[in-house]
């Protein structure tokens, strides 16, 4: 039986038409993202030099949130994960989640979060 290989294939245009892929952002968006990343970095370094804040309980969570925000912004806008196909999103977020769970698990087992029997 003759096999029409063309019928099995999907093109980039088809993904765009189906709404699975969006067009990449413009130059102005890239510049705005750069400004936001710079401001967040400046904020991180600024709070590092506030002794009362460093001594408080909010220092580490604040830095982790700011860092996660920068990470997400770069991944979404510069790596185009917000605009690209969901398969790419799965290929990245799947291992990322495993990696983060591994770090937390190891910290609970051997690190500063470890619960030691008394």
């Amino acid at each position: 039986m003759a096999h029409d290989s063309a019928a099995d294939h999907v093109t980039h245009s088809d993904h765009v038409a189906m709404g699975e892929v969006k067009e990449h952002p413009t130059w102005s968006t890239y510049w705005k993202v750069a400004v936001i990343l710079t401001l967040i970095t400046a904020c991180e370094v600024w709070i590092y030099y506030i002794p009362s804040f460093v001594a408080g309980h909010l220092f580490v969570p604040t830095l982790l949130i700011l860092s996660a925000a920068k990470f997400a912004i770069v991944v979404m806008f510069y790596m185009h994960l917000r605009y690209d196909h969901k398969l790419f999103r799965a290929l990245f977020t799947g291992p990322l989640i495993i990696a983060m769970v591994t770090i937390v698990a190891l910290l609970f087992l051997f690190g500063h979060l470890a619960i030691h029997a008394t």
């Binding site: 093109t11 860092s67 790596m79 290929l91 990322l96 770090i103």
Partner: protein, 223 residues
């Protein structure tokens, strides 16, 4: 359904069952595996953090009898903040290079359009900023060795040099990749059909950037 021959012509890759370029799928899978690699290195650093029995220490002063003489905290936050900014700006230059290649066929009238549309300029800027970051890292490593911290000094030295050294090796590979792309661009010019090869390099470069975002916070700022 679109004609596969047209897909090759317009998107620069052979038709696939997913409609996605195999090279892009491969780089995302590679980046996923790299997440695991850096997770292991970061977790090792975090587990060994604060467990060094001799100085120098990252954020604390080391005084006798723990150290032979008083050693100040070794991490230089102002210098590293500047190098972090340099790497962030290299990501901006990289994404502008990709946009320039994607829009290479569009007419450019004003000076700003010509500057923004120059893939050679932005590829060069990305490689230059990447090299600058490596220069900062070489300066940091050299100053640490002069202050008595090597990979064999204590647990902090071992885990710190391993983590940041692996990252530096990735940046070096990225710079070589960018220089190769720049050479291709100078030789024959990068066209919109070549956008995927620039996109793949850009994804790698941005990944190196996001890894540094995590390292900067976890290693340099949190104490």
């Amino acid at each position: 359904m679109a004609n596969p021959a047209a897909a090759i012509e317009h998107h620069g890759h052979t038709p696939t069952t997913t409609g996605l370029d195999h090279r892009k799928v491969a780089i995302w899978a590679f980046i996923g595996s790299e997440c695991m690699l850096f997770a292991s290195l970061i977790s090792t650093y975090l587990i060994y953090k604060g467990r060094s029995v001799t100085g120098p220490f990252p954020h604390e002063v080391c005084s006798p009898p723990v150290c032979d003489h008083v050693m100040k905290p070794i991490l230089n936050i102002p210098v590293t903040s500047v190098s972090t900014f340099v790497l962030l700006m290299s990501s901006l230059a990289m994404v502008l290079a990709l946009a320039a290649v994607e829009n290479a066929d569009k007419p450019k009238h004003s000076l700003s359009e010509k500057i923004l549309g120059s893939s050679k300029l932005w590829l060069f800027m990305t490689a230059l900023l990447g090299t600058t970051f490596l220069g900062f890292q070489a300066f940091e490593f050299t100053s640490f060795v002069h202050e008595g911290l090597t990979i064999r000094t204590n647990l902090f030295g071992s885990s710190f040099f391993t983590l940041t050294g692996f990252h530096g090796a990735h940046v070096t590979a990225g710079v070589l990749w960018l220089v190769t792309l720049l050479a291709i661009d100078i030789r024959r010019g990068l066209k919109p059909k070549d956008a995927v090869i620039v996109d793949i390099a850009a994804l790698y470069w941005h990944f190196v950037d996001v890894v540094w975002i995590a390292i900067f916070t976890l290693v340099y700022l949190i104490h």
